[in-house]
């Protein structure tokens, strides 16, 4: 099939169906409404289920039940709605249920704005819910990458029995770009067996229980140690990033998602001015590609972190740099999107 022009949100919804998702539970919130609207239209055509839940809390708990019964399940929302889902995300982590959650981030805090932002970085990477847990967080920078990551998200969720969040922003959700949905089919991993799922005892040996309660502290500690070992494995196997013009870069930009695309223009503009700029773009922000930034901190004079927030990913960049080079920050927030010119000005300031 040739490439088709699709809005980011709709492309992600279709990619989920391509990945075998037949159960979607959601609640309206801007700027991700095209996902539930698309699912409401498409799911009946593929014998799937669309439920408009009474709240984001209910939607994530429907995900818990459906994914606990073994299905590939997705929900989507935007920042205030993702805050409401944190209870469910914690329970899902505790019960080790695989699922995919899309967050098309908008400005915050509070009701904030409906324009694109990256201010949910802490919530996504540090765990907005209670307890020691992690989610894999993928950060697409184009609609094509968003569909590829959607398929990858379902595979990773099933493989590691954990939540995979697609962390976009209002821009990724709303922008229209050409996408090749057939190409993503080739990315799909073989299906994973789910012998633990609650499908009724006639379908599996013994009794299956989906649960996150361990009333004995020594038992819960063992569960946490096992989860931690799994998270360490994910860190080794899943962390991913893209590098641009890093061979001789003296000033290294750090940016993800929409901001990284703008930074690519800024890097080219800075190079045209004779500044040796480069870019490291995390494609996963948990696990964070620390190694790439450790290397950059050895090589470069400084790192400039560019985000659509007041400075959140910069914490991870600083952890990687560990004082080996200065790390500065340029950001816009509240739904404001930085221009390449603003970023070039920040680069010039950083290299002075």
């Amino acid at each position: 099939m040739a490439k088709v022009l699709m809005k980011g949100n709709e492309a992600i919804a279709e990619a989920a169906i391509t990945a075998g998702c037949r159960h979607y539970f959601g609640y309206p919130i801007t700027p991700q409404n095209e996902i539930p609207e698309y699912m409401a239209r498409r799911m009946p055509q593929v014998n799937g289920t669309f439920v408009q839940a009474e709240s984001e809390i209910a939607a994530i708990n429907m995900v818990y039940g459906a994914a606990g019964a073994g299905a590939r399940v997705m929900t989507s929302s935007s920042s205030p709605g993702i805050s409401l889902k944190q209870e469910g995300l914690s329970y899902i982590a505790g019960a080790e249920i695989p699922c995919v959650v899309v967050n098309m981030v908008r400005g915050g805090p509070g009701l904030g704005s409906i324009q694109p932002a990256q201010s949910d970085y802490y919530q996504a990477t540090r765990g907005g819910g209670h307890g020691d847990y992690r989610m894999i967080v993928l950060t697409p920078a184009s609609v094509q990458e968003a569909v590829e990551m959607t398929v990858q998200a379902f595979d990773l969720a099933d493989k590691y029995r954990m939540t995979v969040m697609l962390l976009g922003d209002g821009m990724i959700g709303q922008i229209m770009e050409p996408v090749d949905l057939d190409a993503v089919k080739t990315l799909m991993a073989p299906a994973v067996e789910k012998p633990w799922a609650t499908t009724g005892m006639k379908n599996h040996p013994g009794r299956n229980v989906v649960n996150s309660l361990y009333i004995q502290p020594d038992v819960l500690e063992k569960v946490n140690e096992r989860l931690e070992a799994k998270y360490r494995e994910v860190e080794r196997e899943v962390a991913a990033h893209e590098e641009m013009m890093m061979e001789d870069a003296q000033i290294v930009l750090a940016a993800f998602g929409t901001t990284a695309r703008i930074c690519k223009s800024a890097v080219r503009m800075a190079r045209a001015k004779g500044i040796k700029a480069g870019l490291i773009r995390p494609k996963t922000v948990w696990p964070f590609p620390y190694a790439a930034f450790e290397k950059a901190a050895e090589q470069a004079q400084s790192i400039l972190c560019v985000e659509m927030n007041m400075g959140q990913m910069i914490d991870d960049v600083r952890i990687a740099a560990a004082g080996r080079c200065p790390v500065s920050f340029y950001g816009r927030s509240g739904g404001m999107v930085p221009t390449p010119e603003e970023i070039v000005a920040a680069i010039e300031k950083a290299v002075k």
């Binding site: 809390i57 209910a58 429907m62 606990g68 209870e87 009724g200």
Partner: protein, 245 residues
Amino acid sequence: MAVVFEKPKALANVPLHYCPGCTHGIAHRLVAQALDALDCADNTIGVAPVGCAVFAYDYFNCDMQEAAHGRAPAVATGIKRVCPESVVFTYQGDGDLAAIGLAEITSAAMRGENITVIFINNAIYGMTGGQMAPTTLVGQKATTAPYGRQLVGQGSPIRVSEMIATLDGATYVERVSLHDAANVNRAKRAVEKAFRRQIEKKGFSMVEILSTCPTNWGLSPVEALNYIIKEQMLPVYPLGVLKEE
């Protein structure tokens, strides 16, 4: 010799953690007897609540999921949409269903989810130590209502079954009680009917079961049955079929 009574097969052979005189054990047995009578335990997925029945996932011989506080009807909705041919039930207390989970129970009923809800109403939060519930009677003492529930400021008891019965999606709603043998038998028939109707795809069914909490009521088991349920709860929570269609 004829067997007149035996432990239902759908009830796991483990000691229950409930306090002496608590009627959760009877309610569990009624659910298990219904699963046995309908021969469906191996095709059933139950959802346990948060509250005294939090360990219910260990007590039934069927697949189980443990839900967050109040979310059991949402979890059950997810399960039922994946397994429409399976029997799916929630077992929830009054704090779980009538307070924090009001949105989930109401919306599941509104959608007409073809699930069965077993609603245990003992007018108090048991597991956390006897706090006031939305179902607590006016004047009834609780650890968070030490002077008794006050009409002004704390309101009067919520009758969830009456509310749910107003929804077109709910097709069977009945309130029963466990305060004596005759009522236990009525409750048994209601629970079995609720499950049978689900298998017949008749839609959302809910059985509210008036239960005791001798520990947190500060009464003996017999006093709890006679004094609170019979004398105090029945006038507020009248028994009977609220909806059947």
